[in-house]
């Protein structure tokens, strides 16, 4: 009975949320008085993972695993889980992990809960808090089976340093051939993604048209932020679908969410409510978003946003 934390990699390095995943898994292993094993696939340097307390790191390196394929990866994780007598698997909330997890749960005959936001409140039965109704509520849910898998909601758990000196085990796997072929991959270069961002600058129909988005992009650049938008903005084709956030788009749980010219409809709020700090800029003092935000500015986005951008630039120049 051990805990396995699987972390995603990008360019042979752990993804940003990995440290959160390992920290959570470490706290879980303490609670269950068992060891923590971290599984990495094609990661060449583990040193920054060691800060968060793994007892062992299982390092799988195989060129057959260079592209993520959910079925093949589920197969690898399940081989490791079986070999090392794993009882609990902890995953992050990235799209690849969430793609793989349900397949893995069937393979291992494990109960699976996604979007977990806290450490278990109870170990027997194993009970965790997770989001439900697209962040309009939370629920306590239990896993009844012996094997258990959870995936964490992003940004819900902070990193905790716990330096260790793990044993590194090079592990050979049999990578199965996938029936699904990757034809091509098209990545937007040089942009922060909503999933990775600490700050998201989001704009709505109040911006009037796609030609006005430069003020949003400028502010996002100054803040190192990802850009996002409300649903009608993507429906109208002003911005790509990948930027649509809300109940029927992407969830956003960042440290800072700046909503510009967005009225704050219930479907929009549902998807962004778990962000820690929300700032609203809107010309209408009655806009519902003001009821759900931490800081508000009533004003015309076309005046406020460029001015705010200049002031933040100046502030950053002074404070760095």
């Amino acid at each position: 009975m051990s805990i396995l934390a699987y972390i995603e990699s990008k360019n042979k390095k752990p993804k940003k949320n990995s440290f959160e995943v390992v920290s959570y898994a470490k706290e879980l292993s303490k609670k269950l008085s068992t060891e923590l094993i971290v599984l990495t696939i094609n990661i060449d340097n583990h040193s920054n993972l060691e800060k968060y307390g793994p007892n062992k790191i299982i390092s799988v390196n195989d060129i057959a695993l260079n592209n993520f394929d959910a079925k093949t990866y589920a197969d690898v994780v399940s081989q490791v889980a079986t070999k090392f007598s794993i009882s609990h698997i902890v995953l992050g909330g990235g799209v690849d992990s969430k793609y793989m997890a349900p397949m893995l749960s069937v393979k291992l005959d494990a109960g699976y809960l996604s979007n977990v936001v806290e450490l278990p409140s109870n170990v027997e039965p194993f009970t965790v808090k997770r989001t439900s109704f697209s962040n309009k509520s939370f629920c306590d849910a239990s896993i009844l089976s012996d094997n258990k898998i959870i995936s964490l909601a992003s940004n819900s758990f902070s990193t905790i340093e716990n330096p260790s000196n793990p044993e590194i085990i090079d592990f050979q796997v049999k990578a199965s051939n996938s029936n699904i072929k990757q034809n091509s991959i098209d990545l937007v270069q040089g942009k922060v993604t909503i999933a990775d961002a600490d700050v998201v600058v989001s704009a709505g129909r109040g911006l009037k048209g796609p030609e006005n988005w430069s003020i949003i992009e400028d502010l996002a650049e100054t803040l190192g932020a990802a850009t996002a938008c409300s649903k009608p903005v993507s429906d109208l084709g002003w911005r790509p679908h990948s930027e649509h956030v809300g109940q029927t788009g992407k969830p956003v749980s960042t440290n800072l969410y700046i909503a510009i010219g967005i009225s704050g409809a219930i479907q929009h709020l549902a998807g962004v409510s778990s962000s820690k700090v929300k700032v609203v800029i809107n010309s209408d003092p009655e806009a519902p978003f003001f009821k759900a935000a931490d800081y508000g500015v009533v004003g015309d986005a076309f005046e406020v946003v460029p001015e705010l951008n200049e002031k933040i630039k100046a502030f950053k120049a002074e404070n760095n």
Partner: protein
């Protein structure tokens, strides 16, 4: 002729206020309207397009109790040919996946369309579990789907971009907006509604399935603190608050 199954989760309309009853152990359905899960609605319209292009049979399935039948009738009114309701309150994703997988095994579907996630339980679990139970190909976060003969080409949304994948039928997908656009969504017309009353809606009594998870108690998010308003002529104060109080910049 292609045989398609669309998995339909019945969820509270997105404008619903979320409340709970029975000591916060049950969702309060009072005054709530149930609709086709938005991700499934995109999938259903995509299925209709296959039908228009190449002729196809389109079945819809829901695991749930009788009150879901009006939502299934709506799917029939949009143009699905047959509906199946597996008569079981959906309480665990594995159970739902297993019951749908049982149905699929008894039929011969080329294409199974589910949603990326349901907006009530937000599991992102059911289609992936079905794929593993039946050992069929699975592509989720699917924003584009083309089928030519036996060959599937699908776009999957990934962090920071799009990946184009291909494989052979049969396949199950987890769909979302992009499969079709919002403005393409089919709405039932009068004729569709009339016809839907004659279409078969079969209720299937399921076997007992061992559940792997339970949901015990719901909570509403904590009330927010009062908002702090900043004058638009005093943005320095906003920066100060974000830096010193909120510590986010």
């Amino acid at each position: 002729m292609m045989n398609i199954l669309v998995c339909i989760s019945c969820v509270p309309d997105t404008t619903s206020k979320i409340n709970f009853t029975e000591n916060d152990t049950e969702f309060d359905t009072n005054g709530v309207q149930f609709v086709i899960n938005p991700n499934d609605e995109f999938g259903l319209t995509r299925a209709m397009w296959f039908k228009e292009q190449n002729d196809a049979n389109v079945d819809v399935i829901n695991v749930g109790e009788q009150e879901n039948e009006s939502v299934l009738r709506k799917a029939l009114a949009i143009g699905a040919d047959r509906a199946f309701r597996i008569n079981k309150k959906a309480s665990d994703s594995f159970q739902v996946a297993k019951l749908i997988a049982n149905h699929i095994e008894g039929a011969q579907y080329d294409l199974i369309i589910a949603g990326r996630e349901s907006i009530d339980y937000n599991g992102s679990m059911v289609p992936g579990m079905i794929s593993e139970l039946l050992n069929i190909n699975f592509i989720t976060n699917c924003v584009k789907l083309e089928i030519n003969g036996q060959t599937v080409v699908a776009d999957r949304e990934i962090e920071g971009g799009i990946e184009t994948l291909s494989c052979k039928l049969p396949i199950i997908i987890g769909g979302q907006k992009g499969l079709v656009e919002e403005s393409d969504l089919k709405i039932p017309n009068m004729r569709g509604i009339m016809q839907s009353r004659q279409k078969p809606l079969e209720v299937v009594e399921p076997p007992e399935i061992q559940t792997k998870t339970t949901t015990n108690k719901f909570y509403k998010p904590e009330e927010k603190n009062e908002i702090k308003m900043v004058d638009s002529n005093d943005l320095d104060t906003l920066i100060d608050l974000l830096h010193n109080e909120a510590k986010v910049i």
